[in-house]
């Protein structure tokens, strides 16, 4: 699917772009919803009265739902081969598959009540199945095309999620203060700053290993502790982190920056930022906690970063990733969950 706007997918004759990723939870949910809406529509046409609607729907569902679920499972398993075939080939195979499965259902299930009072021939049912399949494919194709510009946009968004100018100028100011007294530390700080900006200027459309994200956040925090000294305390818990897990780039650093800006800087005594990255049940879970001094000053910038990250998560993972934030007992907590993958999906 086009959401992986990578070089790899461009080489794959477009099939990967136009065929949905049937293993994706969002695609499955959308398929289920669309098919059921169509079944209701069909039942409405066949029902003699409004009371008969539910009965007709059940009849359709008895045939439709198993067919749909079986198809989705098969399509998920066959995904690599389908993608290798090109879009038209894949569609042709899909149509044959649907016809075949329908035929099997039609002939080997005990007399479906569906055909008692308004008998339907195999060709009628086959036509309906093909029609529904075509509608769904057209929908996913359109959706992929509609999202394609959004994916190009993702890079710009990543740039917008960039470091606050406030941070840049304060850091340069801090480095300037060190040049005379502690040239070594000044060198270190400039190196960190260069690394940070290398990532910011990079093409951020492809997923990056989480270990790199953590490294980046650490460099960022090193610069901040230069300015804030003992006011900034950080605890990392990354022992069980799978370093190879892929995440959208610049997903952690903006959150850490928020934590410093809203949680540490407004407080005289400073505070502690806790960052956990771990694997839970095939999900990569990132959790970030910081003190919440309240007062609600500077909250609009915070929301921008959160919205931005949420959008990028959705672009890359659809319904399979989530992000939650809450304030509890004077602590602000953000939790991001995303599927644990180690190679970019086709």
């Amino acid at each position: 699917m086009a959401k992986w706007g990578t070089v790899a997918s461009i080489n794959q004759t477009g099939a990967a772009i136009r065929l949905p990723n049937f293993c994706n939870l969002g695609v499955m949910l959308r398929s289920l919803l669309a098919v059921n809406v169509l079944l209701v529509a069909g039942a409405m046409i066949r029902a003699p009265s409004i009371e008969g609607l539910w009965y007709e729907f059940l009849l359709f569902a008895a045939l439709g739902e198993p067919l749909l679920i079986l198809s989705l499972v098969a399509l998920c398993i066959a995904r690599p081969w389908l993608h290798a075939m090109g879009y038209l080939g894949a569609i042709a195979l899909l149509a044959l598959f649907e016809l075949g499965v329908t035929w099997v259902f039609f002939h080997f299930t005990p007399d479906l009540a569906l055909f008692e009072h308004h008998p339907m021939s195999y060709s009628q049912v086959a036509f309906l199945v093909l029609f529904v399949t075509a509608v769904l494919l057209a929908y996913f194709d359109l959706r992929a095309r509609a999202l394609a510009p959004a994916i190009a946009e993702a890079r710009i968004q990543a740039l917008q999620a960039r470091i606050r100018p406030h941070f840049l100028y304060n850091s340069i100011n801090a480095v300037l203060s060190l040049i005379r007294s502690e040239p070594r530390r000044a060198e270190r700080a400039l190196e960190d700053l260069a690394d940070l900006f290398r990532v910011l200027m990079a093409d951020n459309r492809t997923l990056a290993p989480v270990s790199k994200e953590v490294e980046l956040a650490k460099q960022y925090l090193a610069l901040e502790s230069l300015r804030l000294g003992e006011r900034l305390r950080v605890t990392w818990r990354t022992e069980t982190m799978p370093g190879d897990a892929l995440v959208p780039p610049l997903i952690l650093q903006p959150l850490v920056e928020n934590a410093v800006y809203h949680g540490i800087e407004p407080s005289e005594a400073g505070g502690e930022i806790e960052i956990d990255v771990a694997l839970h049940a095939k999900q990569l879970v990132m959790e970030l906690k910081n003190p919440f001094p309240g007062g609600g000053r500077h909250s609009s910038g915070n929301r921008m970063a959160i919205v931005n990250i949420r959008e990028r998560l959705q672009l890359h993972f659809d319904a399979e990733a989530s992000m939650r934030s809450e304030v509890k007992d004077g602590t602000y907590k953000v939790t991001i969950r995303l599927p644990y993958i180690t190679e970019a999906p086709a």
Partner: protein
């Protein structure tokens, strides 16, 4: 205003140690062409006011973004002093503040600060007028967290949360806390606008803190609306005017 050849007494205010160190270095460079002495350093607005209460200061180099009491609020308290020091704001980046400063003709220095620009700003304090309270008020985008009382050349801060009510009396406004009363030279209308969330007007001359309202009482003799508001803690009863009678309904 400083007389030429006088040594300017300077206070550095910034919450970041490296930023203070940088300013010290730069001031050292300016010293030859602009005689100066660094009186002290402050890490937030409260420390700034403490130093001003203790020492004679001619110029404050004031960072805008500081914890607790920020530079903007500190400046507003300073501007109420009888002989306020000159204020030079410093900031790394704050698009809102900068726009407001431009509009209200308030000087500031952008970090990282250059020695030449710092020298320029220092020299300007000899000639130019002090930044006014009105300009600062117009430039500020959030209410203060304290009111400042100026008593015998000292600044006393009254936290907003401690205030029970404000009552206008001739030229002054009486600020009532659980412990005592203070006088501030401000207008009740301005205070009402700035702290609309905190106070509610019960009378032409009186604003009561929403959290200080214990209840209402029928009190036909002293008040024209027939109601008085009871203040939490002190038990004082203040008349509610007929025009503000809706407040009684709103809180009951």
């Amino acid at each position: 205003m400083l007389v030429e050849k006088d040594v300017a007494r300077i206070l550095i205010a910034d919450d970041e140690a490296p930023a203070r160190a940088r300013l010290r270095d730069l001031l050292d460079e300016c010293r030859e062409s602009f005689p100066l002495a660094i009186v002290d350093e402050a890490r937030n607005g409260r420390e700034v006011l403490d130093v001003l209460n203790r020492e004679k200061v001619d110029i404050v180099l004031l960072d805008i973004r500081m914890p607790e009491i920020d530079g903007m609020e500190a400046a507003r308290h300073i501007a109420g002093m009888e002989n306020p020091p000159a204020i030079i704001f410093t900031t790394a980046f704050d698009s809102y503040a900068l726009k407001a400063f431009e509009v209200n003709a308030i000087d500031y220095l952008l970090k990282p600060i250059r020695a030449e620009r710092l020298l320029g700003a220092l020299s300007k304090t000899r000639a130019g007028p002090r930044v006014t309270r009105e300009a600062l008020e117009a430039a500020a985008n959030q209410p203060r967290r304290h009111l400042s009382v100026h008593e015998r050349g000292k600044i006393i801060l009254v936290p907003l949360a401690d205030i029970l009510y404000l009552r206008a009396e001739l030229k002054y406004v009486t600020v009532r806390t659980a412990q005592r009363e203070h006088l501030v030279e401000e207008s009740l209308t301005h205070l009402e606008e700035e702290f609309a969330d905190v106070f509610v007007r019960v009378h032409r001359n009186c604003l009561v803190a929403r959290t200080a309202i214990a209840g209402f009482e029928r009190n036909a003799e002293e008040s024209e609306s027939g109601w008085a508001v009871i203040i939490k803690g002190t038990g004082e009863k203040l008349p509610v005017s007929r025009r503000q009678h809706h407040v009684v309904k709103q809180f009951r």
